[in-house]
Subunit: 352 residues, 5 copies
């Protein structure tokens, strides 16, 4: 999470600074236009996209940009599409908190896509920015993998309502698919939690500690991605902006409900992890105490016996018992009796 | 809770996906119509229900569907009754958070029915969806058991106000009976908590740990069902929708009060469980420490005695005490004195 | 708190179900009417009260009913005074959360009277319902003891403002006297807490644990009675209902302030109890550890001495020290030196 | 805090009951009047103040009353200045929560003055009530010490703005001086916390426990005085009452900011105390464990040596080692080796 | 934080009191004026600045004052620029909570600049006040180091938008650069946390305790600087004051988002530190217990052996085993067997 110091101290606000790691060699741009009848896709070279853009009525024009490190490209996009300087800054700064902001001629939504690596128990985040302009939609991904190929496919096959709707509905579908991926992450995490729970209750695995710690950290990261989305989507769904139709708002409210549910679930998992950690700690300390108790019990049984043995090892001139005929065997019997009754008492008092 | 991954990633929003386990072989539909004078019931075959529906003034028409796995049936219902695609998606997705949503021509309420298995200490949830349309009411249950047979009976016998009222009042009674079942669940859980409390205080039962853990998990589940209902019912009771009469709202506010009370109670039980867990842990650690203390006490009493015995077991040429006449008995007396005074001191200092 | 399962599952809403224990043999009704000049009291038989009621201008007519188990009586009252079915249900259900509800022709306030049994450390609750109608006031108590006799007395003696005011002011005085009784309860609990504190700090009493646990449970109960009152009184004091005059609202706001103060105090006591429990636990564990430390210290002082004794108890043919003239005494001196310096070191290092 | 049971159960609301301890023999009244030119002070006898009061335009008339136990005096004041009965009740009840209330012809502010006794670590509270009427100001102190003498002095010397302003500004200065005294208290408490911190980290002082407990209790008391002031001052500063000028509100908002800052600081100190307590407990338990570890280490080093000594103290007829020439010295060497390597191993494993 | 008692008790409100430490010898004043074409800078002597100020249309006039101890200078500034007395008081009182206040003819923003000393793990705060008047801007720093030299540079070089904008935009850039410095502090703290985490997990460093404690304290300090800023910036960005243009508000909202993100991060770090502390404590106690367990295990293995040795060291006349030919060796074998099987059992039961 750290080591990515925002290097912009002293730069003018609105300065473009890329704050992430470069995850892709060369910026990829994917252009797609569609309405109910038409469908066309293109992958323009970096320099040519600017001339591409010609607004057409009711035609959705979607530019999907992958890779944010090439600030020149982003700057050009800004000029072509008349983006506010703060929008450009937000897109390039991959450490943005999820947010929704309206400008006179467009709206921007920034959120995080998540992937979960089960073996390392580590969540990776990728910043996704979606800008909805009056006659176009820009989406920005950090990475090479195309999170939106399912939607592209759906548009191509004209499945669902999507071809009949405007760009605002497309924004919704983009958000929806990312939100769906959260469910998958959380399901994986739930599996991890259940594995841990079994491990703790059945195997008293001593290594759970760092795994729980790790999972708690990752849950924090996830929460940080989901929680601010709530307000963002809420404001989106209540927006009075011209670009968002009433029809789409029903879907956005549904999205909002999903987000609340996700947030509930993360809270739930956090509680479960805390409760698991408590369980683990008490389990471990319980077991350690039990061992100590057993060991101490052994000692305390032999201590009186040793004393007796020591007693008859003394060199006093006159110790009558030493001269009894079966003294040794009587003592052995007495020792047996002592240890036996101690064990009996301890058992009865449930000391072991 | 887990392992039921929502499989819809990439599907268009509003796609019907059944996310639960199939709990019933074949979808059962139960049709009931009534007004103040008339009462008729029917169990149509799956395919025929569509033709059944003919709106009649002031006649309440209630379709109760049990079983959600057959998406075709749900789709048909959607077409017949003009349901919004998101409504259908919500009904089929049995992992919905309790919610209330208004559409132009109807309202949907989704909530959870709970059953509690005392022996396993496990809560099972069943999703109930109630859709109120302009001249009909649809209710969806996941399972075969009919949660609403008492209401059906009440309608048949014309008990209470129900036959004089409209469909919105019927919605209220359906919610009310589910809410009442929550009280029963919580009473059962309270019994479990009291049993645990007695167990801990009187028997120091070591197995309480996992039971407490289990109960806490189940309380979380219950809370997850009750808490979001608060907002849902609140919005319901304040709705300005044409389908809800002012008369019914008084009852809905009462329902809201009950919900708040239930929520209070769950919070209370959660606190009680936490407090119980603390009590349990301190009880256990207290007891373990007491045992350790006793064992250590035994050791520390014999250690000086053993030392004395060892002392007179030495082989020095000249140890005068060894040649005293009653040396052995004097030593025994001294030992008795030492251990006696140690015990006396420990007792007085309340060390055991 | 448990075992009083609401038995109404499946009954129509508004059904009268008595959910408490019968605390009185026969329902007692006490009637009192007064204005600035007139004062009359009566104790009608159950059946005759209905005919009693004849509204008179500016005459306050107060029916105080003790005992809720006889549902027939309550039903009759409902009919006579035109109470909403939900009002009757709320009155009979003694497990109501404190609440305030307005109806067209009246308002209902439900709250809990508390009594505290110091020896058992147990709080008992009694549900009080007060219904203010257009020209009458109904109050319901569960128990035989008359919580309101001081007010009756005040009316008789015409002390204070009460005879000059209307029924809404009477409602206020009823609430006020119950609120005052909360102060008394909390004072008693504070005394208990202080006793516990002294016990823990001075006597390290081991039995405090269950007392603290008990007090915490009772504080929860009290909180459950006081907390919801806040909203109830707030709504009462802001009500626009015709039955409540502006003059009375000043008093209600004062009541609200008292409630907030009470709530603060309960929060405070809860914190104090938690802090006390922490203190107790750390005190106990501290003391146990101290004992263990002392015992272990005894052992660790004798262990080297015993070793030395054992050393010279060996049967080697040639151990020169055994033949020294004052070997035994030299060894005793050495042992004395060792144990002495160990004690000195431990003391200096503050090990005991 | 306890033992001061409000004795008013059953008394009519608005009854005057003095709930504190009498802190002064005889009620002292101090009268002061001033405007930009005039200044006059007087200390009327109890009975004469009533005739004193003659409203003069733009003349601030300030009655400062010290001592609340003489209810007759307060009652007289109430009659002379037309105070609402609830105002009088609030003034006499020294256990009031800080509050602000508006009446038709005046406003009342009740707050607590604090003093801190460093040696006992105990906070004392004194209730201050300030009533602002249309042409006068009444202030009530419980105690003999005059908290306001600095302000009186300032008025006399005509320092600052005070002589040019109206009575509402005087109210502000009274509140301001009490608020300033809170800063002093909190500074003293911070000193205590820092002392404690040093004590814990450097000296591991075992007596810190009760001091921390005590300080936490006192912080609670302070918080109880400061927290409700926030709302009171907020309402004061937003008041639309005729008696408060717009000019004064700027100062009240500043007061509000100070109050928020004070509240922040108390929260901060509470956190610091909690964190200190955790530190203390872990420090103590850490140290105790360390001691136990050292003691156990001693034991476990000598135990094998003792065993060896015991071995060669056995009386078997044939133990060859006993007859070796340098058997004893070889054994001593072996023992030295064993204990040495144990120590070496323990050291290396950082066991001590 | 302590020892800087506000010395103003009893002084009139609005009195100038400098509450910090003097960090600079002599007050430095830096004057800068600019519009799109002009740029001029000057460092007036203390006494001359008053005559400097001549409002010019659209010319931004910025006075940057470093050093607050010379109250005469501040008083003069107050007179020259018609500052409200409370503004002056706030500027001189370096213990102000971050705040935003509007006056008729200007707005004041007070916030804290932070620096972090990594070796001492200590955060230092410096109070920054910015006053925006109708045709000028005053900024106050406590210290000699100029936090704003980057902005001065940017104005000189005419980088970014800054020369085209008004004074309100300059206020924004000043806030922005301080906010940016918070990011740097938090990054440094994250590094510290990560170092600690590694230390704890890998090295079980016993000194982490005080470092964690220290970091937690510093996080509290930082939080205290950032949290109140949220409300301040929020009110700034929603201000209807004439001095703030709509254009600037977009930037202020962006600033608000950054502040929220910073606050989130501090909360996150606090959680991480708490979680780290838990990890540390459990790690330490875990390790201590493990050591104790090993030591006790050693003891409990030798105790039975010592007993056997003692047994055959007894001086009974008739102990048959003593006369067996290979008695000694048989016993050695038995001892070996006993200790071996104990070790085997302990190993199998995972006791070490």
């Amino acid at each position: 999470m750290a080591k990515k110091t925002r290097k912009k101290l002293g730069l003018p606000p609105g300065s473009l600074v890329f704050t992430g790691k470069q995850k892709i060699d060369k910026v990829l741009i994917n252009y797609l236009e569609y309405d109910q009848e038409n469908y066309r896709t293109e992958s323009p070279e970096n320099d040519s996209f600017a001339t591409l853009h010609q607004p057409v009525d009711n035609l959705v024009q979607w530019y999907d940009i992958r890779g944010l490190h090439d600030l020149e490209v982003i700057q050009k996009l800004g000029t072509t599409f008349h983006l506010h300087p703060l929008v450009l800054e937000d897109i390039a700064d991959t450490q943005q908190r999820p947010k929704y902001e309206e400008y006179d001629n467009g709206i921007i939504i920034i959120l995080k896509a998540l992937t979960f690596n089960t073996t390392e128990i580590r969540v990776k985040t990728e910043q996704i920015s979606v800008y909805l302009g009056p006659d176009f939609l820009l989406s920005f991904q950090e990475d090479k993998t195309d999170l939106f190929h399912l939607i592209r496919e759906r548009i191509r096959l004209s499945k669902g309502r999507i071809r009949k709707k405007h760009a605002d509905y497309l924004v919704y579908t983009l958000l929806d698919i990312i939100m769906d991926s959260y469910y998958i992450i959380l399901d994986k995490i739930e599996l991890e939690i259940e594995k841990l729970e079994t491990n703790i209750i059945e195997n008293q695995d001593k290594n759970c500690k760092s795994e729980i710690h790790q999972l708690k950290q990752e849950m924090m990261k996830i929460r940080k991605c989901i929680a601010p989305l709530r307000e963002a989507i809420s404001r989106f769904s209540k927006s009075e902006h011209d670009l968002i139709s009433e029809n789409t708002k029903v879907f956005l409210r549904d999205l909002y409900d999903h987000n609340v549910q996700l947030l509930d679930t993360t809270e739930n998992y956090r509680d479960m992890l805390n409760s698991l950690q408590d369980l683990y700690l008490s389990e471990i300390s319980f077991r350690m105490n039990e061992i100590m108790q057993m060991l101490t019990l052994i000692t305390s049984i032999f201590v009186p016996l040793s004393f007796l043995a020591g007693l008859y090892g003394m060199n006093f001139e006159y110790i009558p018992e030493l001269h009894f005929k079966h003294g040794y065997f009587i003592l052995l019997a007495v020792m047996f009796l002592i240890s036996g009754s101690m064990l009996y008492y301890f058992k009865k008092a449930k000391w072991f």
